[in-house]
Amino acid sequence: MKTDKKYIWILWFISIVLLFIISQTDLILKEEVPHVYQVSLILDSEDESKYINLKKGVDDAAKKYNIDINLLTLNNITQNAVIYSAEENGTNGIIVLAKNDLEINNKKVPIVVLKSKSGDIIDNPKSGYLSINTDYTGMITKLYNSFEEKFDKNSYIYVFLNNRDISGIEEEIDFLKSKQSSNIIFIEGDEKEFRTAIEDLVHSKNNAYVFSLDKTSTDNLCKIVGASTVYRERIQGFYCIGATTFFLNKLNDGTIDAIATVNEYDEGYLAVEMLMADLKKTNYMSNIDMENMLVNKESLENEEVVKQLFPID
């Protein structure tokens, strides 16, 4: 064989050997080794116990994708600082709750913002983050309608909230204001402020319907109201935004009348799905709207509702 022909044969043979090694062995190309992804879930410190279902959803999805979930709580550091430090520490994705002062610039890793207001997103796909939206107006509407059925049109309406920075609170306040111009009182603060307000109510021998616009407030109220039957008598209706197992139990025993919430297990699960889709560059929505549900005592008899609100381990 002429020499140049020989070269061709040799090179061809080498190419076959190479292809074989690539396709059949792990020497050159490794099958996707189960890569452990790091995802940070950032919540406020008090929030942690209130978002157990969310965490369950996140954890279940994490198991599916071999992800290590890292729960970060804020503790007097700003959310932005925590996000920044998480990125510095090599996290692959971040899940965070919407806050009015949330700043996301120069995103290094995909970020999913939960509970942001619908329509809050800049319609630019490169806006920097993925979001799962809650329709706050829808929630407060449903809650209000349920309240309206039992409203005696006379009593006061006390609206409790923890602080105005919580996502969606402004919309809810505006809605309630638009529905009730008089007889409505807004109380912002913690247990102390709430206790004062309730005690005033009791002293003045008035009755009131109570709206609680966030979980912290509901928690504080339950503590106050649960302590004494006297308080309970003065409150004719107790309507809450946001559910935890504790609140649902209170719903069951009659303390709370109705709760508007979303399926937080699903929310957490979806957040992880969105992150993974972004990391793996597969197709997925960058923007999901969660459906609201209004839960009252009857709905706790409904299997479907129960399965969503009490996810199985």
Partner: protein
Amino acid sequence: MKKHSFLISMAIFVIIIIVSFISMMSRVAPPKKNVIKIGLCLYRFDDTFISNVRQEIEEYVKEYEKEYGIKINLEVVDARDNQNTQNHQVERFVSLNYDVLLINVVDRFAASNMIETAVGAKIPIVFFNRKPVDDDLNRADNIYYIGAGPKSAGIEQARIIIDAYNENPHSIDINNDGVINYLLLEGEPSHQDSLLRTEWVIKTLQENNIPINKLNGAIGNWERAQGSALMEEWLNEYKDIDLVISNNDDMALGAIDAIERANNITGIKIVGIDGTKEALEAINAGKLLGTIESDKKEYAKAVVEIAMFAIGKSSLPEDIKSKLLDNRTYDVEQIPRKK
């Protein structure tokens, strides 16, 4: 030239193959390795004492981070009182390459599975509050146990009663018949805390010649609701209850719940152990006679420091080191609390 063009095209072909697979390799950067991952496995989230300890551990981790400049990811999981679930949780942590595990084991006789998994992966375990059997603890050098000594707890609990009795017998012996009728609320069967706390509180009372008489006793499994249910039954059954001795605060609070529901019952003294926040509040409110508080801050510090020591990130602080027995077990300080 013909010869060369073949060579060149072959070479290009080979280069293309190499370049294409390099570019196909994973784009995701692996996380930086200077983050320590700690797994905290609790037997039940809704055990108040455990919950308190957990909060302290979280606090201490944050302090540790500041002091040593090491980033720590603490992941907390709830086994829901199911050992299998906990085994799965431990397996998962191991597969995610966690550095050290803090385990509050569900079934103290069934720790060998998780020990094998962790030891196989060379991951140290710090057990706390629920003690595995000695054979399991001694399996490897990097297995530790931290707990609040049940014996001393029992003794101290007895001491609260003794002191109160000595100060004013009538406060304990309500009907002044010279006999203190007591009910015993016990924790989980076969839990070392239940056994030892019960044994030593009774022993100490007897040794100090307190005239106790056991009306009844039952297993409340550390749970407030069960304590409450049992107490309710007993309130119906017995009319001369003086004292309720409870192995822990949750059950004691349950007993208090039952008494409050019954409305017209006063005077029964109740003692617990743990020193949970709710118990301390109850003491202030005069509902609970006293409790034995384990220094939860010390608890947390011991757990975290020993864990970090076990993975070689820092050396043990003196106060922890001095109390570490056999390089393995640590007894947390317990302080009586009463009004």
